[in-house]
């Protein structure tokens, strides 16, 4: 195994990233577990400026939604962009530096959080580094657009479309983000816009980019319909940015925006249907019969579909007031993130032979891990949804009686309803941590000790752009 720290091309860079990726996932799962532990057992655990639920929650958000997300985004762009455009990346040194800078600046936010915990905002970013992030993502987007202009494939494959969309919305989310609010409704509005553009759209698009690559190239199947792929692309692009506002139903946000959010969330059924039909019909023609690989992709798809269903359910007029301002939104937020992590695992397994020229063998460890990952993630999402409904019901029951239960004694009643699911989530976080550890082990084992096989080389279509 030879990894170049200064890579010459995207293949070399992918080598570095595939090696580091499982470690970043492991870091994210560890902080998530620690956060859950401090939520349920803060009274028996040692606490200080860093070891407390409030700080760990923000840190977990920074690591999962910003650092890990940017890492996955850059990895996917580096590998998939050149392949789907039919050419090696142009101005590669600049591309490499921008990608590295983007990951570096998100990591810097993690380091900065320990140095000055009060600087870290609710969703992870610090206002100090926000401007540099905007510049770097802007540069990254510019380089991607240059590559699009110089493409050699006659048409743009769905994976590239989704990647471009993800980077555009990453930039939008950073432009939206603010650290200080003067008006309460601005806080709700901006938080909601940031959640929708950064997490809902960002994670979904990177997920769909890898997903379309794996169900066609990975499974060696024939893509059923490009039209359905395009419907899901434009559908999610127009609908997802609006879906966050409904979780602030009944607050100081204007009513019209809450109503629009509710109806556009219901419309998510259109791209979801397109995706389900495209997936099932495409997978029916698969030639890759490796069951673990298929199971991992299926689990990722189930989690993504479930997240969409939760979005749709929470838009039903009788349900929205119950789940608004409750933990229900967490299951949606984490649903998108978990589906991305789940699809990442078969992606890495698929790339190990291609990048390193080492065979990846699906043994008992990988089979066990696939089921463990899938079940722990699905159970976590369901429990978060249950917590949202329980607390929402409790608050509404109190409110209908003229006594909101978010204060004092009422809060204790609510807590008694949700503390058991929280403890179960802690246990599932532990299982998830274990799964990510096993994933790291499998990947490193294959990279270091796998039998030698033919690796992929950087290929480029001869001639000019066909269009």
């Amino acid at each position: 195994m030879k990894i170049k720290l200064i890579p010459n091309d995207e293949q070399d860079l992918s080598k570095v990233f595939i090696f580091l990726l499982p470690l970043v996932v492991l870091l994210s799962a560890s902080i998530n577990f620690l956060k859950d532990a401090f939520r349920s057992f803060s009274n028996v655990l040692p606490g200080n400026q860093v070891l407390n639920y409030g700080f760990l929650d923000k840190l977990s958000n920074q690591i999962s939604f910003n650092f890990l997300f940017s890492f996955i985004l850059v990895v996917t762009v580096v590998y998939l962009l050149s392949k789907s455009l039919g050419r090696s990346i142009i101005i590669f040194p600049l591309f490499f530096l921008t990608g590295l800078g983007l990951i570096g600046i998100e990591f810097m936010d993690v380091v900065l959080a320990f140095l000055s915990p009060e600087q870290l905002l609710d969703l992870g970013n610090t206002s100090v580094l926000l401007l540099i992030k905007i510049l770097l993502v802007g540069a990254f987007l510019g380089l991607i657009l240059l590559n699009f202009l110089a493409k050699k494939e006659p048409s743009i494959f769905l994976s590239s479309q989704f990647l471009l969309g993800a980077v555009v919305f990453y930039l939008i989310s950073l432009l939206i983000y603010r650290s200080e609010y003067t008006v309460m409704s601005d806080n709700f509005f901006i938080n909601s816009m940031y959640l929708s553009t950064h997490i809902y759209v960002g994670c979904s698009f990177v997920f769909l980019s890898i997903f379309y690559f794996l169900i066609t190239k990975g499974m060696q199947a024939t893509l059923f319909s490009k039209t359905l792929g395009t419907i899901s692309f434009w559908g999610y692009l127009f609908l997802l940015p609006w879906t966050g506002f409904k979780y602030f139903y009944g607050t100081t946000l204007p009513d019209w925006i809450e109503n629009v959010s509710i109806y556009l969330s219901l419309s998510l059924i259109i791209p979801l249907l397109a995706l389900i039909v495209n997936y099932s019909k495409t997978v029916a023609t698969k030639e890759n019969k490796e069951p673990v690989f298929s199971i991992l992709i299926s689990f990722a798809f189930v989690v993504f579909g479930l997240t969409n269903v939760l979005q749709i359910i929470s838009s039903i007029s009788n349900v929205t007031p119950i789940v608004s301002l409750s933990n229900f939104e967490y299951s949606v937020r984490y649903g998108y993130m978990y589906s991305l992590i789940l699809i990442l695992i078969p992606f890495v397994y698929h790339l190990v032979p291609k990048i390193y020229g080492r065979e990846f063998i699906y043994g008992r460890l990988e089979t066990f891990n696939a089921y463990l990952l899938g079940t722990s993630v699905v159970a976590t999402l369901s429990l978060n949804a249950l917590i949202g409904i329980n607390s929402g019901f409790s608050w509404n029951a109190g409110a209908n009686a003229g006594n909101p239960t978010i204060y004092g004694e009422g809060f204790l009643i609510t807590w008694s309803l949700i503390s058991t699911p929280y403890t179960l989530i802690l246990f599932l976080s532990l299982l998830f941590l274990l799964s990510t550890f096993m994933f790291t082990l499998s990947t490193l084992k294959a990279i270091i000790g796998g039998s030698v096989t033919e690796s992929e080389t950087v290929s480029e279509i001869s001639g000019d752009n066909d269009e």
Partner: protein, 313 residues
């Protein structure tokens, strides 16, 4: 073999993988080897040895024997046999074209195939048409909810956070006497959205949320009089339970705790202002009547009485 495959692929203008698959399928169906099939496609002999064709030529050979006696027509019959071979080759080509038509390349670099003869299920097409229509109807129906001016709802200036009329002009309270120094509605609105954060639970437009709704007559149903309303805000549910009892309001709603008491947190004026604001803006009450009910404005009769008392020696 691979050269032959490449040649055929070039002739047919199709990817090698597809030609290989088609040749394999053809070979399996015809009982020939893949190489023979490829040779026939490359311009060599047609697959005369294929099972069904062989049978056909055997049956067609029978008349040849009959004609053998007359030597001359033999050649004609031979021509007929040759003529029979042409459609076989044609059908092979047509079949190959059909297979190739169905699949094209979605991405050449990655070798991702795309089904080009996809017909979407009818139910899916129907769903794509009908769902947006329902969504649109729903959006239109709800777009008019809680508009400015309905149920006495006023607008809020986003920058100053002051209550304003629907046209953006400053709101000074309906029928507030000019002698009244305090604009209770405007102050109440500020308290409602700011200091007391009532809006967080009861909604910016009083539509409810975590806390109960005030609009649609709900407020006056629970608190027909200003005094009860003010006392509830002052004491909160805990204070009410201790001082008054388990039930509150005109409908004897059972208090189970939750509403914070604002005594000491708001000044007397702020507390009354928020009561007036809620009763006027969300309850739809007349400002003057509300102020009178709350004891913040004296009626003309009272004023006259006061004047009479003050002028009495």
């Amino acid at each position: 073999m691979s050269e032959l495959l490449a040649k055929v692929a070039e002739i047919l203008g199709a990817p090698e993988t597809l030609v290989q698959r088609s040749a394999e399928a053809r070979a399996e169906a015809s009982g020939n080897t893949v190489e023979e099939v490829l040779q026939s496609w490359a311009g060599g002999e047609a697959i005369a040895a294929s099972a069904p064709t062989a049978e056909a030529s055997v049956t067609e050979e029978a008349p040849v024997e009959e004609v053998v006696a007359e030597e001359a027509p033999v050649e004609e019959v031979k021509e007929e046999v040759v003529a029979e071979e042409v459609p076989v080759a044609k059908s092979v080509t047509t079949k190959v074209e059909t297979v190739i038509k169905k699949v094209s390349m979605a991405n050449n670099t990655m070798g991702i195939k795309l089904n080009t003869e996809t017909t979407l299920p009818r139910w899916l097409n129907f769903s794509f048409m009908i769902i947006p229509v329902f969504i649109l109807i729903g959006m239109i129906n709800t777009s008019g909810a809680q508009e400015c001016g309905v149920n006495g709802i006023l607008d809020v200036d986003r920058k100053s956070q002051q209550t304003v009329n629907c046209d953006g002009s400053p709101f000074e309270g309906k029928g507030v006497a000019s002698t009244n120094a305090v604009n209770y509605v405007a102050v109440g609105q500020q308290v409602y959205s700011g200091a007391a954060a009532c809006a967080g639970c009861h909604g910016a437009n009083g539509g409810g949320g975590v806390g109960p709704s005030f609009i649609g007559g709900a407020l006056y149903k629970t608190f027909p009089t200003c005094a009860d309303h003010a006392k509830w805000i002052q004491l909160g549910s805990a204070g009410w339970q201790a001082e008054v009892g388990a039930a509150y309001g005109a409908e004897d709603t059972i208090s189970i705790g939750g509403m914070p008491g604002f005594q000491g947190k708001l000044t007397e004026e702020e507390l009354m202002a928020v009561v007036v604001f809620e009763r006027v803006v969300f309850g739809g009450g007349n400002t003057e009547e509300v102020l009178i009910d709350c004891g913040l404005l004296e009626t003309e009769e009272e004023e006259e009485n006061i004047e009479a008392v003050s002028t009495t020696p």
